[in-house]
Symmetry: C2
Subunit: 397 residues, 2 copies
Amino acid sequence: MQHPTKTPLSDALRRLVGRPVADIDTPALVVDLDAIQRNLGRMAEFARKHNIRWRPHAKMHKSSAIARLQIQAGAVGVCVQKTSEAEAMVAGGVHNVYISNEVTAPAKLARVADLAHAVAAENGQLAIAVDSLEGVRRLADAMNERRRGGAGAVIDVFVEVDVGGGRCGVTPGRAGVQLAHEIRRHPALRFAGLQAYNGKAQHLRTAQERHDAVGIVVQDVLFTRKLIEAEGVPVNLVTGAGTGSLVCEAASGVFGELQAGSFLFMDADYAANERDPAQPQFEHALFIKSQVMSCGVRHAVCDAGHKSHAIDSGLPRVLELPATGALEYFNGGDEHGILRPAGDNQRVPALDDVVWLIPGHCDPTVNLHGFMIGVGGGLEHGKVEKIIRVDARGALT
Amino acid sequence: MQHPTKTPLSDALRRLVGRPVADIDTPALVVDLDAIQRNLGRMAEFARKHNIRWRPHAKMHKSSAIARLQIQAGAVGVCVQKTSEAEAMVAGGVHNVYISNEVTAPAKLARVADLAHAVAAENGQLAIAVDSLEGVRRLADAMNERRRGGAGAVIDVFVEVDVGGGRCGVTPGRAGVQLAHEIRRHPALRFAGLQAYNGKAQHLRTAQERHDAVGIVVQDVLFTRKLIEAEGVPVNLVTGAGTGSLVCEAASGVFGELQAGSFLFMDADYAANERDPAQPQFEHALFIKSQVMSCGVRHAVCDAGHKSHAIDSGLPRVLELPATGALEYFNGGDEHGILRPAGDNQRVPALDDVVWLIPGHCDPTVNLHGFMIGVGGGLEHGKVEKIIRVDARGALT
């Protein structure tokens, strides 16, 4: 396994457990543990009601501890995008892992085969996506090399269909049939179904636009599934969906598994979507605690810039608190944020004021940090309950 | 010291030293060590010619090993933005460090005072910026607390002037005089001069626009310096400048020290500036090695997205190589990049094709990685010479 060599927990972080929130040095990535539990409960209930499995995406939190929490709450396992993320999950005791992405480099596939055997030894199961004949053959070679002619683990293989993302996946139709047949030719591979995810659909602002986009996803999946099943090959599972569109996939009757990950933390971008009435009311659980370190006449400067939070989906929102009133965050570069009063608020923040930023996008924000500080009892008056390691931080390979 | 608990070097990374570039797993952050040496030579020569000190910004590379290379090449030390970055530099044997930013939280200032004493014991010197009376007093309190009434280290203190950045710093004029006097009241503080940096000026595209912007910077500095010196207080040094504008500051006769950092690696954004004829021809030395892992009819997908490189200053450029021809990189999200042929090139990249991405912005890109892979002998046919730790990765506090 190439990844992960764990960053040790510093003494300062260790000492923080049990201390009040006020003692958290800034900037810091803080998760509201109570809000996480509520979001998990809402997701579990939603999945039960729709009789659908959920396999949340761990590319978002990159933490085996959080993955275990999700599995305790009813998730069947987790998704990841990278081999090294899968390695980090398995090293952290998570044994049902789906690499919902193509892995084609032989050196990486050897690691995938190792992982398939490692989780099988724990009664777990590894799965992966493919979108080319060459990819299937290389995967089979790696699994066979690992088995060395004898029996061994079997890996679940999903055929990815490009359902509008324009990224990976085969064109809906016959290409999927060909891949399903090829998978079934190899004893170490098991054809598990279809991977169908349209990332762009997640961020369409109105519920109707997302509904329409997933309508096309469902048509593409049905078309491909029908062709495969017409040849006597059962398609047991269709897996996909994100936090933006999950109500559509859940209601489709076609999807058997939801991969939504961001619901757990809810970022500013997902919160800016018009909520479908059927969607659970997920709440923000991920924050950057920051503090004012310089004051101008009409603006203040806090100590969190885009080395603290990702800005690919926009700048962070500022949590409105009685102490500071409404504030807007402006780009101050890598290490600073510019704060200005917003709405009716006239008060420019003062030196030492604490602000809580809601990141625009959870996934790359978490990836900037080695640890999340888990708080119970609320952001303002709570206590640090635990330090959560971001096991797969920077797990790129 | 809160930071840094070092991430151990993995066996896989250790084994890479001496291996050909082809063996570097993707995506990976790779530095061209030959290009770095050439860029250092150009900067050293430029500084000698203009009889100006250079103190490159280590917020860019976050590596004490690179800082030591820069000091060997003639730099007087390094700048950093955060206390924890300074801690990482000092832990890595760099003893002349300037925190070119305000630090106002008492818990952080206690660490600053510790650092001031730690570097003094090594015949080094710590410096810091201030922009408020309260900040100066808190800094003095922390230094006095560390000294406990006896003698001890002295910290150099620069008054930051807001010269157009609209972020930190005092308004040009009398506020600077007041701060200089306050600094001189405290025996543990030494008034060292003025900090004057306009980040916005760096990225103005034409040389004339940058020249005009720095013209205003120089006026603001001269005005403030004159007021301070009129009261018999010498202003020994004006420090600032970035890679975009350094020729202007060097020619101003007012600046005594250049803080430019990005020249060492040169990102796509700085390269998009019209080059002032007086500016050394710095070359790209920082790359993401990536590989094609999925192919469509008109596009290919590589394994590097914005968890591999920062996109705050735009998407990466693709290095044009004979094997692939000209390519354009499109946003594929956190883990993927979409590649399409550009210009006259008709060839869609094939599975396994290697591409070298030139990041839009060095600083936050380096911060995404635990290590840089140092290559000698060129990107295509060279060898891995060393693994360079990003000591201050994620050093936010």
